[in-house]
């Protein structure tokens, strides 16, 4: 079976011959592993494309980063963007990155969303946001002009429906549509500190943002979705709306501001035969799961263990409904072989029995995991997944 066939079987609670695997790593981890013996030619992969974005008519190898699935010999869920439908959901025209202040180790700049961020020049931590582009209704009314769904720059430059259909029909890896969700939209434009209380401090503004964004998404997705329909195997819906002990927004807020808009978008997808919508959110949002299901969400990644998410318990509670991806505690991979085995053995055999589960760590592989420990984890997992 191809990874795509296996993926479809798993997501329909049927038996594949092997389980696909979902991991992601950051450059800091790859750098650590290089110092621990990862071969350089494995870390730097290449693909072929026209040089300088097509301004020189010569095909040249272009490097891209380490593919963890390929290196460890697993069937992948995604293959370096080749099976991801990329529709630009950001502000257009985009803001240019502009340096405001630079010191020996930090850079303060205007970011592509139009806010101000500071990033480190010496390590790979997330940037610190100093300012966001939308602070009030006046900002939003101006900013929303950048969300024109009919702007053709939002589609790939060589896009035609025929080319797309051919590409995605032939793919052996699941085809994925990535959507930026509603909370993610508000947080991106206003920042958590302003957006989360705004459901109470400025409800009219938030309603307008959510409603506008729902209409924008449906109109933007229309061409690709109506051309590809069920050739799109899954939707990766990014939200990140929870923290260690609960969701950032209450069920009451979710119901009033997000659920009707979520239904509008998922209803459009469902109408076109796309039903598998997997939500990406860190933290613990268990209390929102019934509402998310009502809104058309059918699975979730990464199920952070430290936040109290447990795929085994959730499977027992929800049966063969929700699909789960991830949930192997990354912290256990720093505690030695016995801890790794204990964590994997408690979850994977039980979850693979019924299907609807793709194993992987409960988020990006952090740089405190050694290549040796990760290799042990990967080999142990392979033995359990019929490799």
């Amino acid at each position: 079976m191809t990874p795509r066939e296996c993926f479809k079987k798993i997501m329909n609670f049927q038996k594949p011959d092997r389980l696909v695997w979902m991991e992601d790593q950051i450059d800091a981890t790859t750098l650590r592993w290089l110092s621990e013996g990862l071969p350089m030619d494995e870390a730097v992969q290449t693909h072929y494309d026209l040089m300088v974005n097509g301004s020189q008519l010569i095909v040249f190898p272009a490097p891209y980063t380490f593919d963890v699935s390929e290196y460890f010999g697993f069937l992948p869920v995604a293959a370096a963007n080749k099976t991801t439908i990329t529709l630009d959901q950001g502000p257009l025209p985009r803001y240019t990155l502009k340096i405001i202040r630079e010191t020996k180790d930090k850079v303060l700049c205007r970011d592509p969303i139009g806010g101000k961020m500071e990033y480190s020049k010496i390590d790979y931590t997330m940037p610190q946001y100093h300012e966001f582009p939308v602070k009030d209704t006046r900002d939003w009314n101006e900013y929303k002009k950048r969300f024109d769904p009919t702007d053709r720059r939002r589609y790939p430059k060589d896009y035609t429906s025929e080319q797309y259909i051919e590409l995605f029909e032939e793919s052996t890896v699941p085809t994925e549509l990535v959507i930026n969700g509603f909370y993610g939209f508000g947080r991106g434009l206003m920042g958590t500190a302003a957006f989360v209380p705004a459901f109470y401090t400025d409800p009219d503004l938030v309603h307008d943002m959510m409603n506008t964004y729902a209409d924008f998404l449906v109109q933007l997705l229309e061409d690709a979705v109506e051309a590809l329909k069920s050739r799109i195997d899954w939707v990766f819906w990014w939200e990140d709306f929870a923290h260690g002990v609960g969701p950032n927004i209450s069920p009451k807020v979710f119901k009033e501001f997000i659920l009707p808009n979520l239904k509008k978008v998922t209803g459009f997808l469902n109408k076109n035969g796309i039903n598998l919508i997997i939500m990406d959110s860190d933290g613990n949002f268990e209390v929102l799961m019934p509402l998310l299901w009502e809104g058309g969400i059918r699975g979730t990644w990464p199920l952070e263990v430290n936040a109290g998410m447990d795929a085994v318990e959730l499977r027992k509670k929800y049966g063969k409904t929700w699909r789960f991806l991830g949930n192997i505690d990354k912290m256990e991979l720093t505690k030695g072989k016995e801890a790794i085995k204990r964590e994997v053995d408690r979850k994977v055999p039980f979850l693979k029995k019924d299907g609807g589960y793709i194993p992987g760590l409960d988020h990006t592989i952090p740089p405190n995991i050694s290549l040796k420990d990760f290799t042990f984890y990967a080999n142990h997992l392979k033995a359990l997944l019929n490799y």
Binding site: T125, Y200, V245, N248, I249, S250, E256, N306, N368
Partner: protein
């Protein structure tokens, strides 16, 4: 709108009640739009600034309780924080030093290498509303700064935050540096953030490790009560 729905719920119906009670309920009902007007109304009715502050503190304590009981979530907690800030803007010109006596001093910051501050800022608002004097050192704070500021302020409590697994070991460095400086026994230490666990708190010698700002604030109140 949400606050209108809440106002109509059973025991929260506004009726013939004093403006002070109304003010306290505005927090529970998360009535941001009314808060400034209610403060002015309370002042006009002759209520003292300390009575008003007490009503606000009761209101925010009630919000915290509802959060702990699972009725409210972060959205409600942060909204209450914004309401508290707006109310304080109205009330501050009327407060005297006697109204604002601190119940304790807290030094807080996000440890070196980590730039996250949402949880820390919620914790700060909750501590301020409870009557603590808070020295917020910001984000990416090196251990030496925690030590210098703890000594300078005579803090009762040191609060550290780390969201990232990659930076949580910095908390250990701060605890060790406080020990070396002879300050460890003079302060309580509380850790917060998504990455930390109770087990980790014990391992590095902190007094408490919490994932929740409301619980952290409650602990701090208990510590200064003795």
């Amino acid at each position: 709108m949400i606050h209108e729905i809440l106002v109509c719920e059973g025991d929260r119906v506004f009726g013939d009640m004093s403006v002070i009670r109304e003010l306290s309920l505005a927090f529970v009902n998360l009535d941001y739009r009314q808060i400034r007007e209610l403060i002015r109304k309370a002042l006009d009715s002759g209520a003292s600034a300390s009575e008003i502050l007490k009503a606000m503190q009761e209101g925010i304590t009630d919000v915290g309780k509802r959060y702990e009981e699972g009725e409210y979530f972060l959205s409600e907690l942060m909204a209450a924080g914004e309401i508290f800030k707006a109310a304080m803007e109205e009330l501050t010109p009327h407060l005297t030093k006697a109204n604002t006596t601190s119940i304790g001093t807290v030094i807080m910051g996000t440890v070196k290498g980590d730039l996250h501050d949402i949880g820390k800022n919620i914790f700060k608002t909750l501590l301020q509303s409870a009557g603590f004097s808070v020295h917020d050192l910001g984000v990416d704070v090196p251990a030496e700064k925690f030590v210098v500021e703890t000594r300078k302020s005579g803090a009762d409590i040191v609060a550290m935050s780390s969201l990232l697994t990659t930076t949580m070991d910095q908390m250990r460095v701060v605890v060790d540096e406080l020990k070396k400086a002879g300050l460890r026994k003079k302060v309580k230490i509380v850790l917060g953030g998504n990455a930390i666990t109770e087990e980790f708190g014990k391992e590095i010698g902190a007094d408490a490790a919490v994932k929740d700002a409301v619980l952290g604030a409650r602990l701090c109140r208990e510590w200064v009560k003795g």
